[in-house]
């Protein structure tokens, strides 16, 4: 058991290390989708703790990604904070936002909660667009500095990829532990029945707020990396409802309870546009048509999974294993 676990992680880490080398030198292929997959994994895994484990729907997760990105970028550019400090500071801003938003919103249930998080997600994005003096308005912020370690600047696509994926693996590892611990079990008890969980001695409001805040902080951390360990530009369009829907799709595809599943869903959703683009090219579609096709594909995939495999890929795999 222990050996198998270790082996799994060694193989995974090796694959993550080798992937860009093979892409770059084997196929001279862009690292962009692979880098994006890293961000998606962090977002998907963090939301899985709230939606999958605890059963609290949130359609506004992209807002925390954005808050982290703008938080760090504004502190680094207007506040002249070194990037290595702007990243934890931006994460703290996301943590505070998660707490302040979660506190009132988590009293709501089911569609009321869905609606509230959706509206907050939109409101935060509108704020990014409107607060010109801070956020650069519709254009956003650009020429953002890279992470500097001493005199060494992490500015290449390779270094971006490795930093993001290193954190993605660390986050997957610890979130998986968390989901399987007693804390994770208490959260699943809340998912099953909040009233019964209360009467079993579980402090339901506090647990919900705690995991929501933690999840927001992780998403914000991903945002800080997106600002300073990617292309160096951020714009409000990237932090909208479409991204929130994508993140939920990743969680659903992977299987609600499994952190590994959420990570797998993230990789699939990251690579899907690339595959559709190839298909579109073959069919001689133009760029707008391809973009529309990509958006439609997310919706279709989400619906297909909800109807035919609500337990997600991981759930399906487990079932076929036990049936065999």
């Amino acid at each position: 058991m222990r050996g198998a676990f270790l082996l799994k992680w060694i193989v995974l880490t090796a694959a993550v290390i080798l992937c860009p080398i093979i892409l770059e030198y084997g196929f001279s292929y862009s690292l962009e989708p692979a880098l994006q997959a890293g961000f998606f994994i962090i977002l998907s895994v963090s939301l899985a703790l709230v939606v999958g484990l605890t059963g609290q729907i949130s359609w506004g997760h992209a807002a925390f990604f954005g808050i982290g990105a703008y938080g760090a970028a504004i502190l680094a550019t207007r506040g002249n904070l070194p990037v290595v400090l702007a990243i934890p500071a931006g994460t703290l801003v996301g943590l505070a936002a998660g707490f302040l938003i979660g506190y009132p919103v988590l009293r709501l249930k089911s569609y009321y909660l869905a609606l509230a998080t959706l509206v907050i997600g939109i409101a935060v994005q509108e704020f990014f667009k409107a607060a010109d003096f801070l956020t650069g308005g519709e254009i956003g912020l650009y020429d953002l500095p890279d992470i500097k370690l001493g005199s060494f600047e992490l500015s290449s696509a390779f270094s971006h990829y490795y930093v993001v994926w290193m954190f993605a693996l660390i986050i997957v590892f610890f979130c998986d532990r968390l989901s399987k611990s007693f804390l994770g079990k208490r959260l699943r008890a809340i998912h099953s029945d909040e009233g019964a969980a209360e009467s079993a001695g579980i402090d339901v409001p506090r647990m919900k707020l705690g995991i929501f805040t933690f999840s927001a902080a992780i998403a914000a951390f991903a945002g800080t990396l997106f600002a300073h360990c990617s292309y160096g530009t951020i714009a409000p369009g990237e932090f909208g409802v479409v991204l929130s829907i994508k993140i939920i799709t990743m969680v659903v595809i992977g299987g609600m309870f499994s952190v590994y599943g959420a990570a797998m869903g993230a990789v699939i959703i990251a690579l899907l546009p690339e595959m559709i683009r190839r298909l579109g090219d073959l069919a001689h579609m133009d760029l707008t048509q391809i973009t529309h096709l990509q958006d439609i594909a997310f919706g279709v995939i989400l619906v297909i999974f909800v109807i035919f495999a609500p337990q997600g890929l991981i759930g399906k795999m487990r079932m076929s294993r036990t049936n065999a």
């Binding site: 610890f174 532990r177 968390l178 611990s181 007693f182 804390l183 994770g184 079990k185 208490r186 699943r188 008890a189 998912h191 099953s192 029945d193 009233g195 019964a196 969980a197 209360e198 009467s199 079993a200 001695g201 579980i202 402090d203 339901v204 705690g210 933690f214 309870f257």
Partner: protein
């Protein structure tokens, strides 16, 4: 142990509880009966703060608990089960009991992510404690099963085991035998006796009058939100008025 003082509870114009006062002493086994809609479950909901109420007070071990939230009341030693069972469907049978063991809350955020030796030890003793509770209700053979895959009767017993795992001083059982067959009811009665022998006070709502008469040391009768009688099973049995008014003419129910 438990004292309810002049509690009234209204839902709009409906009076669910009307100036109800009662006591349950340490290690006592008290029954609560009354026709449907008498306010029995509402009384439980009031006691463990599921339903807010304005008039009256509830004391547990001399301490007022009226303004506490349900989980705080559970942590103070009063726990209840539900008429409609409510097991944790996303957890296994063993996990259902584990999350209720007070010690499991020692595993918080950091210890959840970093399994220190201390955390492992905690985990072991929580598991052991939960397994004991399952053993008491006779579900230890099913501990790895998903809670939803259990039969109705087994789920009910799991509800009792989960309540027991919170290490209560007083256990409130809401119609534990409803929906159970004869054999399951007998098992349940045995489990209740066993729990009572462990110095846990029990306050039980029961429609199965025969079972209640056998188990309870004292019975409280509720009707239309009012306490109309209180006494030993023998006294209640003899009170013809109570029986006729609330349980029909046929006395064979009580034998």
């Amino acid at each position: 142990m438990l004292e309810v003082q002049a509690v009234s509870c209204h839902f709009g114009g409906l009076v669910a509880l009307d100036n109800v006062s009662l006591r349950v002493e340490e290690n006592e086994l008290v029954g609560l009966m009354g026709p449907n809609g008498a306010g029995k479950t509402t009384l439980f909901n009031v006691i463990n703060s599921f339903v807010p109420f304005r008039e009256g007070k509830v004391y547990l071990k001399g301490e007022e608990i009226s303004s506490l939230t349900p989980h705080m009341i559970t942590r103070k030693g009063l726990v209840r089960t539900f008429q409609d069972i409510r097991v944790f469907g996303w957890l296994s049978v063993l996990e259902n009991a584990e999350v209720a063991v007070p010690l499991n809350r020692n595993i918080g955020f950091w210890r959840g992510m970093l399994p220190t030796p201390g955390a492992r030890l905690t985990q072991e003793s929580v598991r052991q404690r939960a397994a004991e509770c399952l053993d008491l209700v006779g579900l230890s053979g099913l501990s790895e099963r998903n809670a939803r895959s259990l039969t109705f009767g087994q789920q009910r017993l799991l509800g009792v085991a989960r309540a027991l795992a919170t290490e209560p001083d007083i256990l409130l059982l809401d119609e534990p035998s409803s929906g159970l067959n004869q054999e399951e009811t007998e098992i349940l009665a045995e489990v209740i006796r066993e729990i009572h022998q462990r110095n846990i006070a029990i306050f039980i709502i029961e429609h199965h009058i025969g079972m209640l008469m056998n188990l309870a040391e004292r019975i409280i009768v509720l009707d239309r939100g009012k306490k109309i009688m209180e006494g030993t099973p023998a006294e209640v049995r003899e009170e013809e008025g109570v029986i006729k008014a609330y349980f029909g003419e046929k006395k064979k129910w009580l034998t």
